[in-house]
């Protein structure tokens, strides 16, 4: 190692330390912002010191790429709506995957025939994984982005032969992987890997429905890190290996949390497109009782404690600011307001928390499911806003239900339950919700934002 290489590697050690410290600071909302800054400093050090690398002989292309990418990234970061965060993270996952794919390809394209002869199989195996994982991440993320932003139908696309298609893909990958590592000078195999990876990501994601998106985004997040690690192994770059694994671990942990919150295995989520839909079991009997916003106001005015349970519908209706306004009025009226957030509410991990933070709801008023369920009876009113499956008592009561066994927020145990919903239809999982038929449940039908604004207006008239 010459002097400059030593300096670069020493700087990578510092950068890695800063990334680790940054993630450590992310473990509390008070220090999280500082953590993000520390991590950004680490990135700056890593990038600047890499520019000293003696292999780099010209800077104009680097500058061009950086200016284009940086400008687009900054614009996206400044303008994105908080409700659209799942789409943005998805898109960025895809860019990360594509960057690794291109880096792997560039590494291979930069080898002349002499270098190819003297390079060991380990490098080609890791290059194979870089291109494969990068490609799957890219096409999978683009599909997820399309579904989340409404450019594609959020329904699971299922057709006969999907399972066979996937098995065929995997067999082809193994074959092409073997051919590539044994004949790396033949670029046809590289193109085959890219094509297979893109195609596999497409089919694997298109067969997953909108409600399972939190799992898919978390998993693709993890893949984007794993692709970076593979690229690091192929090019012998330690900072890529370490940092890629931090991201990979993060995505895997979130994937696991999401799966547990739905009481399903990862395999079940990924392969649900291949399973036959479950026949409806028991019929739910009872009557739906509808309440006007005005009558809802009278109940809320008398309430001592209120629990708000938001779901994806709150994001769709952009109702978070109206909810916050209602919270202030309730609190001025001497009522305590808590929020209960289910791990899979919304379309990505922590989606609801960010929306409520945007509307200035203090984060110490947000509770997880396990914190509120034991004291559910104490709440005078539980307001369910655009959530359905995460408060569905069928998960506890109906053995035949597809969501049976999923841990839910037990809103039905509150003294009164308001369900704010457009109509009394089934949720995204397509499951009937017996909560709507309970004696203590009142449905307030209509757009969630409008309903809450009406309640807020009643407070003003009072």
């Amino acid at each position: 190692m010459n002097d400059i290489a030593t300096i670069i590697n020493l700087a990578y050690v510092v950068a890695a330390a800063l990334f680790i410290l940054g993630l450590k600071l992310l473990s509390h909302p008070d220090s999280a912002k500082r953590g993000n800054f520390v991590s950004a400093v680490g990135m700056l050090i890593a990038v600047v010191v890499t520019l000293l690398d003696q292999q780099i002989i010209s800077y104009q292309w680097i500058l061009l790429g950086f200016v284009i990418g940086g400008a687009f990234g900054a614009w996206k970061a400044k303008t994105v709506e908080m409700t659209a965060m799942p789409e943005m993270v998805s898109l960025f996952n895809g860019f990360g995957g594509a960057a690794s794919l291109l880096l792997g390809w560039a590494t291979l394209a930069g080898m002349n025939s002499v270098v190819v002869q003297t390079t060991g199989a380990f490098t080609f195996i890791t290059l194979f994984f870089t291109v494969l994982v990068g490609g799957v991440t890219f096409s999978g993320s683009v599909v997820a982005w399309g579904k989340l932003s409404g450019k594609l139908s959020s329904k699971a696309v299922i057709f006969t032969g999907l399972r066979e298609l996937s098995i065929l893909h995997i067999i082809a990958m193994l074959v092409v992987g073997y051919l590539f590592t044994t004949q790396p000078q033949n670029t046809v195999w590289l193109y085959c890997i890219i094509a297979l990876a893109l195609s596999f990501g497409l089919w694997a994601t298109i067969s997953i429905g909108g409600a399972d998106m939190p799992v898919v985004i978390a998993l693709l997040n993890s893949y984007s890190g794993i692709a970076a690690t593979a690229a690091g192994l192929a090019t012998g770059n330690t900072i890529l290996i370490v940092t890629g694994l931090l991201v990979g671990a993060s995505g895997l942990i979130l994937t696991n949390i999401m799966c547990k919150a739905m009481n399903r295995s990862l395999a079940n989520v990924l392969l649900s497109g291949f399973a036959k839909p479950i026949e409806a079991g028991e019929k739910i009997e009872g009557e739906i009782k509808v309440l006007s916003a005005q009558d809802a106001f009278y109940v809320l005015e008398a309430a001592q404690s209120v629990l708000v349970i938001p779901g994806y519908g709150m994001a769709v209706a952009q109702a978070q600011h109206a909810v916050r306004e209602m919270q202030s009025l309730l609190e001025d009226n001497g009522c305590t307001v808590d929020y209960a957030i289910h791990a899979v509410a919304g379309r990505m991990p922590g989606h609801m928390n960010v929306l409520l933070a945007e509307a200035d709801v203090p984060y110490d008023q947000l509770y997880e499911m396990d914190d509120v369920n034991p004291r559910m009876e104490n709440y005078d009113v539980a307001i369910v806003i655009g959530a359905n499956d995460v408060v569905n008592p069928a998960a506890k009561e109906m053995k035949g239900s597809p969501i049976y066994g999923m841990p839910v927020i037990e809103a039905y145990r509150a003294k009164t339950v308001f369900v704010l919903k457009r109509s009394a239809n089934a949720g995204f999982a397509g499951v009937d919700n017996p909560l709507f038929f309970k004696d203590n449940t009142r449905m307030v039908l209509g757009d969630a934002k409008e309903t809450i604004n009406n309640i807020v207006r009643e407070f003003g008239d009072d």
Binding site: K33, G65, F92, A106, S224
Partner: protein, 94 residues
């Protein structure tokens, strides 16, 4: 030996990652993911060398495209995470 040494790094970094991320509370999971987007842009470091070296036109084109994509993640990821984290506030003690 080189391979063993790299695999050691993989092993240790994986365990470290799991221990670190496990402690991130649910309320910060979205910023965690956008922050992960940012640091997965570390691919930029590899892309810089590919874009700026003299290994042929194809390498330069691919490298430059990789620089652009990774820069989106780095710049966009850190900025949006910062924007989000600025919104998280504690209850004012009145």
């Amino acid at each position: 030996m080189e391979i063993i040494y790299l695999l050691f790094i993989v092993l240790l970094a994986a365990f470290l990652g799991f221990e670190l991320i496990r402690k991130v509370p649910a309320t910060l999971h979205t910023p965690l993911m956008s922050g992960s987007n940012a640091i997965s842009g570390i691919t930029l470091v590899g892309a810089l060398v590919a874009s700026g070296n003299d290994n042929g036109v194809l390498t330069t084109i691919l490298g430059t495209a990789a620089v652009a994509l990774a820069s989106i993640n780095v710049v966009g990821g850190y900025l949006v995470t910062d924007r989000m984290l600025s919104m998280f506030k504690k209850k004012d003690k009145k």
